[in-house]
C-alpha cells in the first residue's frame, strides 16, 4: 500500500446517471432472485419458492453483490482501492454475464417447463435488472489503474488472498462435481466463466498473478492441501472420486508427456503406449487369474519394474526416431503407438506368445495392497468414510506430487536450459556443446518412466487393462490437454487435463458432440491461442515470433520478478 494512496477518492463527487442506472439494475437483480422464477418445482433445482433462493438464483445474487462491490468501489468507499481495480470493465463483463445467464434461464423455462406461461415474475425482474446493468455499465468510463507489480502488499494480506482463492477453488470444485443436472451445471459454468472474466477484466487476476509469483511455494503447498482435502468433502461417495482419480491419472500422464513435448519440444503422438506398458506390466505381475507372469513381487517393486520397462521402451523408440526430426518424429511415434496397440492385441497365444490376453485384456486385477492397507476397502478417517477411489486418489496425488517435482526441478536446471536451447535452435545448441541427442533421449525415457509409474497404478484402479484403452485418440487427448492448458507449465496441464476429463463426464447430454467439439477446439486453439490457456512465457514467445510487445511485457515482468528476489538474497 505504498503508491496507491496518492489520490484519494474524490474523482466522482456526484453519482452519475449511469452509476445510478447500474445500481438500480443490481438492486432489481438481487430482489428478483428472492422471488419465485417458475411455477414448476422440478425445474432447475426448484425455483418456485419466494424468499428462499434456489441454487441458480444464488449465482445471480453473487453476481449482484459483486456488482455492488464494484459500484461502491467507484464511489470511493474503500479509500485507495479504486485505483487498483478497473471497476467499469469488471461491471461490464458482469452485466453481460448476468444478461446472458438470465436469457438462457428464460429459454430453459420456455423449453422445459414447457412454455413461458410457467415463468414467474421474479425471473423477469432479474432479467430487467441485468439489462439495466448492461445499459448502465457500458456507458461508464474505464479507470486508469496502477500496475500491480509496483505495489507491495503486506505479506499477511497476500497470504489471506491466497487462502481465500484456494478455498473458493475447493468449494467451487466440490459444488461443480455435485451437480447432477446437466442444465444447472452448464449454467454454473456460465456463471463461473462470467465471474472469472469479470474479475480478470477488473484486473484482479493480474494481482493474483503477482501475488502468486511472489508466493509460489505457498500456492503449491496450499493447492496440494486443497487437493488432499477434496475427498473429505465427498462424504464417502465414490461417484465423484472415481472421476477425480481419472482426472489425476490423466493429468499425471499428461505431465509426463509435457516433459517430452513442452520441455524438450519433441512431438510424441504415441505416448499412451508408455502408460499402457506400465499398466500391462503391472497387470501381468498382479494376482489376476489372467496374468501370465508367474512372479508376483510386492507392488512397490512392480511400480519400479513397470516404470523401467516403460522407459526402456522409451529408449528403444527414442534412439532411432530421434534421428528423424519434426513431423517425421511425430508420425514415427504414432506408428510406434500403433505397434504397441497391435502387439498387445496380438500376444494372446493365437498370434505370438500368450502374454497380454489379446483384445480381451487382463481383467480381474485385484485391489492394491501396500502393507496391510487394502485400497479396495473403505477406511474411516476422523469419522469420514473414504472409499475405494479416495484411496487411489491419495496414492495418485503422491505420484502427481513426484511428477510435478521432477518436472519443475528438471525445468529449472542445467538440463532444462539444455532443452530450451534445443527447442530454440538445435544447431546452435549443439555448437555450444549441448548434448542434443542425450537430452532428447533422456526426455523420452524420463517421460516414459513417469508414465509407466502412473500406468502401474492405473491397472489396479481400473481393475482391468485392455488394448482399446491405449489407442491413438488417447494420445491425442493427452496432447490436447497440454495444448489446451499450456505447454511447459504444470498449472496449464492440470487445467487442461481437468477440463478434458471433467467436462465430458458432467456434460453427458453433449456426449455425442464431445469429440466433434474436441477437434474444433484444437483447430481454434492453434489458430488463436497456440500457447494454451496457462502458457509458459517462453512458449508463448515461441508461438508469437513477431510479437515484439509481448516480448517486452514478458521481459518487464521477468525483471520485476527477479530483482526483489536477488535483493532479498
Amino acid at each position: 500500500m505504498t503508491t496507491s494512496q496518492t489520490t484519494a477518492a474524490v474523482s466522482n463527487p456526484r453519482p452519475s446517471s449511469q452509476w445510478l442506472i447500474t445500481l438500480v439494475g443490481v438492486a432489481l437483480l438481487i430482489i428478483g432472485c428472492f422471488l419465485s422464477w417458475s411455477y414448476v418445482p422440478a425445474l432447475l433445482g426448484n425455483l418456485s419458492v419466494n424468499f428462499f433462493p434456489g441454487a441458480i438464483q444464488i449465482f445471480m445474487i453473487i453476481v449482484g453483490v459483486l456488482g455492488l462491490f464494484f459500484l461502491l468501489l467507484r464511489k470511493g468507499l474503500f479509500p485507495g482501492a479504486h485505483k487498483l481495480l478497473d471497476s467499469a470493465r469488471g461491471l461490464r463483463a458482469l452485466s453481460v454475464t448476468a444478461a446472458a445467464f438470465m436469457v438462457l434461464v428464460v429459454i430453459v423455462i420456455g423449453l422445459q417447463a414447457p412454455g413461458l406461461a410457467n415463468a414467474d415474475p421474479g425471473v423477469f425482474v432479474t432479467l430487467v435488472g441485468a439489462l439495466a446493468m448492461v445499459a448502465g455499465s457500458f456507458r461508464m468510463p474505464s479507470d486508469p489503474t496502477v500496475d500491480p507489480i509496483t505495489v507491495h502488499l503486506p505479506s499477511w494480506v497476500e497470504i489471506l488472498v491466497i487462502v481465500a482463492m484456494l478455498t473458493v477453488v475447493l468449494f467451487g470444485a466440490a459444488y461443480a462435481l455435485g451437480q447432477e443436472d446437466g442444465t444447472v451445471f452448464s449454467l454454473f459454468l456460465l456463471f463461473l466463466a462470467g465471474l472469472v472474466v469479470a474479475l480478470a477484466r477488473a484486473g484482479l487476476f493480474s494481482w493474483f498473478g503477482v501475488i502468486a509469483q511472489r508466493n509460489r511455494r505457498v500456492i503449491m503447498l496450499g493447492a496440494f492441501a486443497v487437493a488432499f482435502l477434496f475427498p473429505f468433502t465427498q462424504n464417502g461417495s465414490d461417484a465423484n472420486m472415481s472421476i477425480a482419480t481419472q482426472v489425476l491419472i490423466f493429468a499425471t500422464t499428461a505431465l509426463g508427456l509435457n516433459i517430452v513435448v513442452g520441455l524438450a519440444g519433441l512431438l510424441d503422438l504415441g505416448y499412451i503406449a508408455f502408460l499402457g506398458a506400465g499398466a500391462y506390466v503391472s497387470a501381468m505381475m498382479s494376482h489376476s487369474a489372467f496374468a501370465n507372469i508367474g512372479w508376483k513381487p510386492p507392488f512397490l517393486v512392480v511400480v519400479i519394474i513397470s516404470a523401467i520397462v516403460s522407459s526402456a521402451l522409451g529408449l528403444i523408440i527414442g534412439s532411432p526416431t530421434l534421428r528423424v526430426s519434426g513431423d517425421y518424429l511425430a508420425i514415427v511415434t504414432l506408428a510406434f503407438g500403433e505397434i504397441f496397440r497391435l502387439t498387445v492385441n496380438n500376444l494372446d497365444g493365437n498370434n505370438g506368445p500368450d502374454l497380454t490376453n489379446g483384445p480381451n485384456g487382463i481383467p480381474g486385477i485385484p485391489e492394491l495392497e501396500i502393507g496391510s492397507f487394502n485400497f479396495g476397502d473403505t477406511h474411516n478417517v476422523l469419522g469420514i468414510p473414504l472409499g475405494r477411489f479416495a484411496n487411489y486418489y491419495f496414492l495418485l496425488l503422491v505420484v502427481a506430487a513426484i511428477i510435478i517435482t521432477v518436472f519443475t526441478r528438471l525445468n529449472n536446471s542445467r538440463i532444462g536450459r539444455g532443452w530450451v536451447a534445443i527447442r530454440e535452435d538445435e544447431k546452435a545448441a549443439e555448437a555450444m556443446g549441448v548434448n542434443v541427442f542425450g537430452l532428447k533421449l533422456f526426455a523420452f525415457a524420463g517421460g516414459a518412466f513417469l508414465a509407466g509409474m502412473a500406468g502401474s497404478i492405473k491397472a489396479h484402479q481400473d481393475v482391468s487393462v485392455t488394448p482399446d484403452q491405449y489407442i491413438f485418440l488417447e494420445s491425442a487427448f493427452l496432447l490436447a490437454a497440454i495444448v489446451l492448458g499450456g505447454m511447459g507449465t504444470v498449472a496449464g496441464v492440470l487445467v487442461g487435463a481437468t477440463v478434458l476429463k471433467l467436462l465430458p463426464e458432467k456434460l453427458r447430454f453433449v456426449a455425442d458432440y464431445r469429440l466433434l467439439t474436441f477437434g474444433l477446439l484444437l483447430v481454434l486453439m492453434m489458430r488463436f491461442r497456440p500457447e494454451g490457456l496457462v502458457p509458459s512465457q517462453r512458449r508463448a514467445l515461441e508461438f508469437h515470433e513477431d510479437d515484439a510487445d509481448l516480448a517486452e511485457r514478458i521481459e518487464d515482468a521477468h525483471i520485476e520478478a527477479v530483482t526483489p528476489m536477488e535483493g532479498r538474497a
Partner: protein, 307 residues
C-alpha cells in the same frame, strides 16, 4: 508359387489403394513441407461423398454407368473439403511453428470423423457400399490366380490417375508452376507463380485422388465407415515416406511395396508372428526401418529438413 502370385496380386491391389492416397501426402508435402495429417479423412469424405451421390440420385441402380457419377461425387466432396481445410485451417498457420499445423491436422481429423459419424445418416456403424454389378460380380480366373473385378478397378484407377497426373505435372503450365514452387517457392513467386493458388491446387489434386481411392475402397471392401481414414491415412503416409516423400512416383512405388509386403506377411511369415493380425505391425516396422536407414525413401527424393 500359385499362392505367391495370388498374394502378389492381392498386395498390388491393396498397394494401389495406398498409392492413390499417398500421392496426396506427397504432393502437399513437396510444396509446403506440411504433413497433411487430415488427408486420411479427406479420403474418407470421398468415400462418403460417393455413397451419398449414389443414395441421393441413383439408389437401387447398379449398372456400370453409375460409377462415373459416383467417382465425380467422391472427387467433388473430397476436393471441396480439402480446399476449405487449406484455406481456413492451414493457410493462416503457414508461418507458425511446425507444431501448430500438425496439431491442427489432428483436430481436423477428429472433427471430420465425428462430423461424418454424427451427421451422415447411419454412419455410426459400417455402411454397405453399392455393389456395382460389373465391378463386383464373380471373379475372373487367370490361370492359378483369382482376380476380383474390384481389383481390376483399383489397379486401373491407379494407372489412369498416374498417367493423368504425369500429364498434368509435365505438360501443363500449372504443373510446371507446381514443380517450381516445390523446388524454391520464393523464386517461383519471382517468376510470377501464384504460390497460394499452387498450394490450393496441390491440395485439390491430392484430394481428387483420395476421392477416387474412396470409391475404390468401397468397391473392394464392400463397406465404408467413418473410421477408415485413420488407418488408411497412416498406411498411405507410410507408403509416401517409403517411396521418398515429395516424390510423386515414389508414393506410387511406396504404396505398391507396402501393399505387397502386407499381403506377403499374411501368407509367408511363418510361426505365430505371421498372419493377418501382424500385417500392420510389419508395415509400421518397415516405416521405421526406412526412416532410420534411408530417410530419403526408396526413390530418393531429398528430405527437406526445415529445422
Amino acid at each position: 508359387m500359385d499362392q505367391f502370385l495370388q498374394q502378389l496380386l492381392n498386395g498390388i491391389t491393396l498397394g494401389s489403394l495406398y498409392a492413390l492416397i499417398a500421392v496426396g501426402y506427397t504432393v502437399v508435402y513437396g510444396i509446403v513441407q506440411l504433413i497433411n495429417f487430415a488427408h486420411g479423412e479427406v479420403f474418407m469424405i470421398g468415400a462418403f461423398g460417393s455413397l451419398a451421390t449414389w443414395t441421393i440420385f441413383f439408389k437401387g441402380q447398379l449398372g456400370l454407368w453409375v460409377l462415373p457419377f459416383m467417382i465425380v461425387g467422391a472427387v467433388l466432396a473430397a476436393v471441396v473439403v480439402a480446399l476449405i481445410l487449406e484455406r481456413v485451417a492451414y493457410r493462416p498457420l503457414r508461418h507458425a511453428p511446425r507444431l501448430a499445423p500438425l496439431i491442427t491436422a489432428i483436430g481436423i481429423s477428429v472433427f471430420l470423423q465425428e462430423a461424418v459419424r454424427l451427421f451422415y445418416p447411419g454412419a455410426k456403424s459400417a455402411l454397405p457400399f453399392p455393389q456395382i454389378d460389373m465391378v463386383t460380380g464373380p471373379a475372373f480366373q487367370a490361370g492359378p490366380v483369382t482376380v476380383r473385378r474390384s481389383a481390376v478397378f483399383v489397379i486401373g484407377a491407379l494407372v489412369v490417375c498416374a498417367i493423368l497426373l504425369w500429364f498434368f505435372i509435365n505438360r501443363t503450365k500449372m504443373g510446371r508452376g507446381m514443380l517450381a514452387v516445390s523446388q524454391d517457392p520464393d523464386t517461383a513467386r519471382l517468376m510470377g507463380v501464384n504460390v497460394d493458388r499452387i498450394i490450393a491446387v496441390a491440395f485439390a489434386i491430392g484430394a481428387a485422388l483420395a476421392g477416387v481411392a474412396g470409391v475404390a475402397q468401397g468397391l473392394q471392401n464392400s463397406n465404408i465407415d467413418f473410421f477408415i481414414g485413420f488407418m488408411a491415412g497412416l498406411k498411405a503416409f507410410t507408403a509416401a515416406v517409403l517411396g521418398g516423400i515429395g516424390n510423386i512416383y515414389g508414393a506410387v512405388v511406396g504404396g505398391l511395396v507396402l501393399g505387397v509386403v502386407e499381403a506377403m506377411a499374411v501368407q509367408f511369415i511363418p510361426g505365430t508372428f505371421g498372419g493377418s493380425p501382424w500385417k500392420d505391425v510389419w508395415a509400421f516396422v518397415l516405416l521405421i526401418v526406412v526412416l532410420v536407414f534411408r530417410p530419403q525413401g526408396l526413390m530418393g527424393a531429398r528430405v527437406v529438413d526445415r529445422a
